[in-house]
Each structure stands twice: as structure tokens, then as C-alpha cells.
């Protein structure tokens, strides 16, 4: 493919590596012929079509690339877990106020749903850790040290977060909750936290894509429904927590004990929506894995 125009090589590179191994050369030839014959005004449609094909090849691997589909599903579940983790951190932040701890102790529905949420989130995390451990062991067996070096990415992100913490404390000082300095410090910490989550999810994705683990499809079949199910349970528990608080302690529910001293009900609603979105993403990943497994069984 070395003799192909740069544009053709770039377009072929947009397709997954396993796809390129099988179709890359002939596809490059078709692209070159099409480009030569195609008038300039058709170039945008041509490029759009090829890029659409690349997205399709990545999202909907077919036939011999079905195991790739399982990997895509696992990576999607990792990002869903990252999003869920962000919402979970928000929930933890909201519920650390003494008034809300008291509400959990006093009202059965609030305390019970809080416990269910924690247990479900822990189970979802455990399921993902199992898959990540299998991928990491596969990489160690492959002696794929180049990929294992990516583990430094979340560690560095974590170190950067720890570095941002004293800076945020210094920035906020003794300023009021809604002062510009305090809001800036909070925004900085939130951004640093998002960066840690994104770096971790990205690293897990890279490892799962590169690890040669024979049991990965079987692991995916077990863990993805578990992750989706436990996330759904945690989301329902979060919704129940808010409703329970609203019924048993309306004054607290309508207070300003939410994130950054904002409306508690608003914070709760936003957290629930993000959890629901993450759950939907995990359910999609699980369904895609199931259809890939069905395709493998039929093949």
C-alpha cells in the first residue's frame, strides 16, 4: 500500500487493524480507482461514505471480526462505568452532609436505598475489575510491556489530581461557597477528576483491545449483563433515595444541601439522569455483546 496516495493510506488507516489485515490492500486499490475517476465535487460525499464505513467497521464488526465486537462492547461498558463513577462521586459528595447522614439513619427508605446503591455500585466495579484483571494478565503473558506502560497514564492522572488538591485548597481559602475563587477551585477539581476517570477508561480500553485472552468473550457474556444489571439497580436505588427523602423529610429535600450548596433536589435529579444515561450505555454494550455471541454460535 506504500505506493498509494497519502489520502488513501489515511482513509484505510481509519479502519480497524484486523479489518485492514484482511481487506486493506484491495480496499486501497478500490479507493485509488474511485478517486481517480471521481469528479472533485463528489469528493465530500466520497470521503463521508468511506468514513461512515470505517465507523461501521469499528462499531459493527462482522463475521471473522465478531470477537472485535465483544471488545467494543467491553470498552463501551468501561466508559459507561466511568460516567457512572462521576455520578456516583456526585452522590457521595451530596450524601456526606451530616443532615443527610442523619436522614439515612432516621428514615428506613432513605438508608435502605443508600445501602442498595453502594452494594450495587461495588458489584459493578468488581465485575469490571475482573475483566480488567483478565486483560492485564493476558498482556503480561504476551509480554506486551509496550501496552502495560499505558498503566502509567491513570497513575499520572491520579498524581496530577493529588497535585491539584492543595492548589484548589489554596485558591478557595476562606472565601464563601459561591465566591469566584471557590467556584474556580471546585471547577478545577471537577475537571481533574474527569481527567482521571477518562484516563482510566481510556487505558482500560487500550488494554482490552490489545490483550489476547481466549476467555474474553466468555467473561464478557458474564460480566456485561452483571454490570448493566447492577448499574440499573444502583440507578433505581438513587431514584428511590430521593423519593424517600422527599416523602420523609421534605424540608431537607428542598434545601440547598446539594452540590456546591445548590438545590438538593436539582443535584439529585441531575445525578439520577447521569446514572440512567450510564446504565443505558451499559445495557447497549451488553445487548451488542449478546448479539455478537449469538452470531459466533451460529457461525
Amino acid at each position: 500500500m506504500n505506493g498509494e496516495p497519502r489520502l488513501v493510506r489515511w482513509l484505510v488507516a481509519c479502519y480497524p487493524a484486523v479489518w485492514r489485515e484482511r481487506y486493506g490492500e484491495e480496499f486501497a486499490s478500490v479507493l485509488s480507482d474511485s478517486l481517480t475517476a471521481s469528479p472533485v465535487y463528489r469528493l465530500p460525499a466520497f470521503l463521508t461514505n468511506v468514513l461512515y464505513g470505517a465507523v461501521d467497521a469499528r462499531l459493527n464488526p462482522e463475521g471473522p471480526f465478531m470477537s472485535e465486537r465483544v471488545r467494543v462492547s467491553l470498552v463501551t461498558a468501561v466508559w459507561a462505568a466511568g460516567l457512572f463513577g462521576v455520578a456516583g462521586a456526585g452522590f457521595q459528595k451530596v450524601t456526606e452532609y451530616p443532615d443527610l447522614k442523619e436522614a439515612a439513619d432516621q428514615h428506613v427508605a432513605v438508608g435502605w436505598s443508600y445501602d442498595v446503591l453502594l452494594a450495587a455500585a461495588a458489584l459493578a466495579l468488581l465485575a469490571l475489575v475482573l475483566v480488567a484483571a483478565a486483560a492485564a494478565m493476558g498482556l503480561v503473558r504476551q509480554r506486551s510491556m509496550g501496552t502495560l506502560k499505558f498503566l502509567a497514564v491513570p497513575l499520572l492522572a491520579g498524581a496530577a489530581w493529588l497535585g491539584a488538591l492543595p492548589l484548589a485548597k489554596w485558591l478557595s481559602g476562606n472565601h464563601g461557597v459561591h465566591s469566584a475563587a471557590n467556584l474556580l477551585a471546585i471547577a478545577m477539581l471537577v475537571l481533574a477528576s474527569l481527567a482521571v476517570v477518562a484516563a482510566t477508561a481510556w487505558t482500560a480500553g487500550v488494554m482490552m483491545r490489545r490483550a489476547q485472552v481466549r476467555a474474553l468473550p466468555r467473561l464478557g457474556a458474564i460480566t456485561l449483563p452483571a454490570v448493566a444489571g447492577t448499574m440499573a439497580a444502583a440507578t433505581l436505588a438513587c431514584a428511590a433515595w430521593g423519593v424517600g427523602l422527599w416523602v420523609s423529610d421534605p424540608a431537607e429535600f428542598n434545601s440547598d444541601d446539594g452540590l456546591v450548596a445548590s438545590s438538593l433536589s436539582g443535584s439529585w435529579a441531575a445525578i439520577t439522569v447521569v446514572m440512567a444515561a450510564a446504565t443505558a450505555l451499559a445495557v447497549i454494550a451488553s445487548r451488542r455483546e449478546r448479539s455478537a455471541s449469538a452470531g459466533r454460535s451460529a457461525a
Binding site: 479489518w19 481487506y23 490492500e25 484491495e26 480496499f27 486501497a28 486499490s29 478500490v30 479507493l31 480507482d33 474511485s34 463528489r42 460525499a45 466520497f46 461514505n49 468511506v50 468514513l51 461512515y52 464505513g53 470505517a54 461501521d56 467497521a57 462482522e62 463475521g63 471473522p64 471480526f65 457461525a299
Partner: protein, 104 residues
Amino acid sequence: VNDELGRWAEPALLVLASLAEGDKHGYAIIQDIAAQLGVTLGAGTLYAVIVRLEARGLVEALPMEGRRRPYRLTAEGARALGAQVARMSDLARLSASRLGLSAG
């Protein structure tokens, strides 16, 4: 073909119909479909369809000829195309009769 391939069903039929004439490589399929039916099949669409048809055993890849790889319609592919043609003929006949159009 329709049920399994979803949005790729129509371009898949075009590719099957093109290969029904004889073995062709990718760009020849695009040219044939454009010449016979006036439809411009994008390279991205063509290969999304070829991957699916090959996975289902409806077409098979032949050895490379230089940088090009010809594809052949399999017996299973011919059966799938025949079944689809029969369905489309029934639909065309029904529609023509209900619209009062002559079959010719």
C-alpha cells in the same frame, strides 16, 4: 437478506445482482452497478456489504489479482438473490395491478 442486513440490504442486493453476471473485483462492481442501474455505490458502502455477504457465505473471495481481489457469487448467494427477486416480482405485479398499470 432483507431481515438480516437491515440498512445494508439494498446495496447488498445490488452487489449480488452484479456478481450474478460473473466474478468481479470491487471497483468493477461499482462501475457495473453505476452503468446498469445508475446507482453510485460508495467504496465504504461496498466493503461494508462485502464483509457481511462474505460472513454469511453469499459471496466468496477469490485469490488476489495484483492489488485487486475478485469476488464470486456462491450457490447460497444465488438462492438468496433468487428468493429476493421472486418477492420483488410479486410486489411489482401486485402494485402494477392495483395501480392499473400494464405489466409490460
